[in-house]
Amino acid sequence: MRNWTIALAGNPNVGKSTIFNGLTGSRQHVGNWPGKTVEKKTGILKCAGQELTIVDLPGTYSLSAYSLEEQIARDFIVLERPQAVVNVIDATNLERNLYLTAQILETGIPLIIALNMCDLADARGIIIDVAHLSQLLDGIAVIPMAASHNHGLEELKQALVAYVLQPSQQQAA
């Protein structure tokens, strides 16, 4: 079995930490990014006999390396090349969040979108056509979530496991 690394990326304040905690539970390690004063959180997700290392990247609006956080997030995605990036998106604030998504897509790393805060979007009457979003992004997984209510976490875990168990991924391993 190979060691899988999944990065968690997203804008600040989109519920990334909640999702990180939901995925990894108590199996967490908190340290600093090498040579930086920015906190690095890693954790292990055990699901369906698989073990995935989850790395929580600093919250950023872009990957353009204007700030230390952006630099860290970008270098990790581009140089460490995780097997996939889970892009956490605030459903109430789709337009600003998707800019980061567009940049992550350009790194060529496979992407899963965790569309968080769907409960808040619902409450505000915002309707997001999830199927259409997925389709417009060439069929990537889009998982509606409300992480603060534990909604969608199982689905995200399933999607991650399904992804690593894909024949093409298994061949690569």
Partner: protein, 579 residues
């Protein structure tokens, strides 16, 4: 929740750029793919970063062996694209990424029809309305000054009584105890410090009310709207919009307002705004208005104060308009975008902090600057230059202060307040506007020697302070509904009590100097106080920010404008047969 798109994630998905950009990206990616050391990067991603001009990655390419061909391709690509787009390439790429996102959002997102109209939006539609915005601002300001004068007046009288009666009595008793009664020390304490500092402290309730009202307007988010509305007006008149923000600061204190002009871009705009700020009536000027308005316009004091504040704004805008078309000509009017913070209900704590910090600053000034000036003025009033008085025992008219102030007095004669008393107050008022009040209170307080107070006990005095506070509170509660025109108590037309003591002395002094047009002269005096140099701190700030030349321009300009405006009020009013 349903998971969508469990399909393979492996097929690369990209933002597709314009074909000409995609061509260059392909060229660059190919070159990158042929350079072994750069292969740790995704070639297309690196190509995009290089085109966008990422300096860190560029250095890496420069240092890579065989990096030269990549740089060559990069330079050619950049040159070609720049020729096409005539803009930085990162702007083009970022723009297209935003377009991609915008298109995506438009296709997948449906907003509720009503969602865009929040309550804040709806309020803003009215409050920042092109036509309604300014009347609303004026109405709110009128309410503020009505509140300031009507609600605070009973407390003002309470503080006045407490200082003039119990406090003075106890201090005199104390001085008598240590055998200093009847000496110059008693005169210094009673006629100098109590009259001067006390005369200013009397206005603490007025200032507190003003600061309370301003804090509510600021904390709720309204003041930003007021600035926005006024800026739009100024913009229409050809003035730099952003000026009104510093000017709103000026309502509290002109000094930070001068420094706040730093937010303006060009030196010209900074200086121009700096010249206008002093016309915004700062809170230190309020006691002067309230004092004179209560004496001469007891029924309309709120309106008079409001009118003066508005005159300040009109003078600032008028002068700005004149200067913009003469000394400060610029072609461009730079539009700007302002973020109007969402409205929110101010917290009691926040309002209290704001109000208290400002009131504390006012009290601290009374204890320092005003105290020092009061002592100095007392000294000048104690030294005889004429007649046969002795130190601290001379007719005021014979004092050094009267002599010096008398030299300036003729300048103000055409304005209706050519007495040494009024001009003395204006001259010392250069230091700070509260000094106008403290000086008047010293002069008129002495002129109107109070009848010998009967000896009182400390207990009696404290009792009096408490009962009169209760009386003031009742009066205030009665005044509040009256502001909006509701007469709950069926208030009997309050027969104007004969102004007492200090007020009577001030009144007769203005009547004499104006040849029987006291109210008009008082109005002219207030206009002069509004428009002439606010205080030495503002002069210092103007010098520091704009240099000596502009500082003098500002000081002299204000004096000239104040003099002319007061002249127009007094002589014009007389011609029209007012007062």
């Amino acid at each position: 929740m349903t998971v969508i798109g469990t399909a393979a994630l492996n097929a690369p998905i990209y933002v597709r750029y314009q074909p000409d950009i995609e061509d260059e990206l392909t060229r660059l990616s190919t070159a990158i793919g042929q350079t072994p050391l750069l292969q740790r990067y995704h070639p297309r991603w690196l190509a995009i970063q290089l085109l966008e001009g990422d300096s860190g990655l560029l250095t890496e390419v420069q240092n890579a062996p065989n990096g030269a061909p990549v740089l060559q391709v990069l330079n050619d690509s950049q040159a070609r694209l720049r020729a096409i787009y005539n803009e930085d390439i990162d702007v083009i790429l970022t723009d297209q990424r935003y377009r991609f996102v915008n298109t995506l959002v438009r296709r997948v997102l449906t907003r509720p029809a009503t969602q865009r109209e929040t309550l804040s939006d709806r309020v803003d539609k009215i409050v920042t309305h092109r036509l309604l915005g300014i009347p609303i601002f004026l109405a709110l300001m009128w309410l503020v000054f009505k509140l300031t004068t009507d609600v605070a007046t009973p407390y003002l009288e309470w503080v006045e009584e407490a200082i003039g009666g119990p406090l003075t009595n106890q201090l005199v008793a104390l001085l008598t105890l240590i055998g200093l009664d009847g000496t110059w020390v008693e005169s210094l304490v009673v006629d100098g410090i109590i009259a001067g500092v006390g005369g200013v402290l009397v206005f603490v309730p007025v200032l507190m009310t003003l600061y309370l009202a301003l804090a509510i307007l600021e904390d709720s988010g309204y003041m930003a709207r007021a600035a926005f509305v006024m800026d739009r007006l100024m913009h229409i008149l050809g003035l730099h919009g952003k000026s009104f923000l510093p000017m709103i600061v000026g309502f509290g204190c002109n000094v930070p307002a001068i420094y706040a002009t730093r937010t303006l871009e060009t030196e010209k705009d900074r200086i121009l705004t700096g010249l206008l700020v002093p016309f915004m009536s700062c809170s230190a000027r309020l006691p002067v208005y309230v004092l004179l308005a209560t004496i001469f316009f007891p029924a309309y004091s709120g309106l008079v104060v409001f009118g003066l504040y508005m005159l300040g704004i009109v003078a600032a805008i008028g002068l700005g308009f004149a200067l913009k078309h003469t000394l400060f000509k610029t072609k461009d009017r730079v539009p700007f975008i302002m973020e109007l913070p969402p409205y929110h209900l101010p917290t009691l704590r926040g309002i209290w902090t704001h109000m208290w910090e400002r009131t504390a600053s006012f009290i601290r000034r009374a204890g320092t600057v005003i105290m020092a000036t009061s002592i100095l003025i007392w000294l000048l009033m104690a030294i005889p230059t004429r007649g046969d008085g002795a130190f601290a025992d001379t007719e005021l008219d014979d004092s050094a202060f009267a002599t010096v102030a008398g030299v300036v007095a003729p300048v103000f004669a055409p304005l209706g307040f050519g007495s040494w008393e009024a001009s003395g107050a204006l001259v010392t008022g250069f230091i700070a506007k509260e000094v106008v009040v403290s000086t008047m209170s010293q002069i008129y307080g002495v002129a109107e020697e109070e009848e010998a107070a009967e000896p009182t006990t400390l207990v009696d005095d404290l009792g009096q302070v408490v009962t009169s506070f209760a009386g003031a509170t009742i009066d205030t509660l009665r005044a509040i509904p009256l502001i909006i025109g509701i007469d709950l108590m069926g208030t009997e037309a309050e027969d104007e009590a004969e102004p007492a003591g200090l007020m009577r002395a001030a009144q007769s002094n203005f009547e004499v100097s104006s040849g029987g047009h006291g109210a008009l002269a008082a109005l002219a005096f207030m206009v002069f106080v509004l428009l002439y140099t606010p205080c030495v701190a503002v002069i210092a700030a103007a010098r520091q920010e704009f240099g000596n030349r502009w500082m003098w321009f500002s000081v002299v300009g204000q004096l000239v404008i104040a003099w002319i405006a007061a002249l127009v009020v007094f002589q014009g009013g007389r011609l029209l047969g007012w007062g």
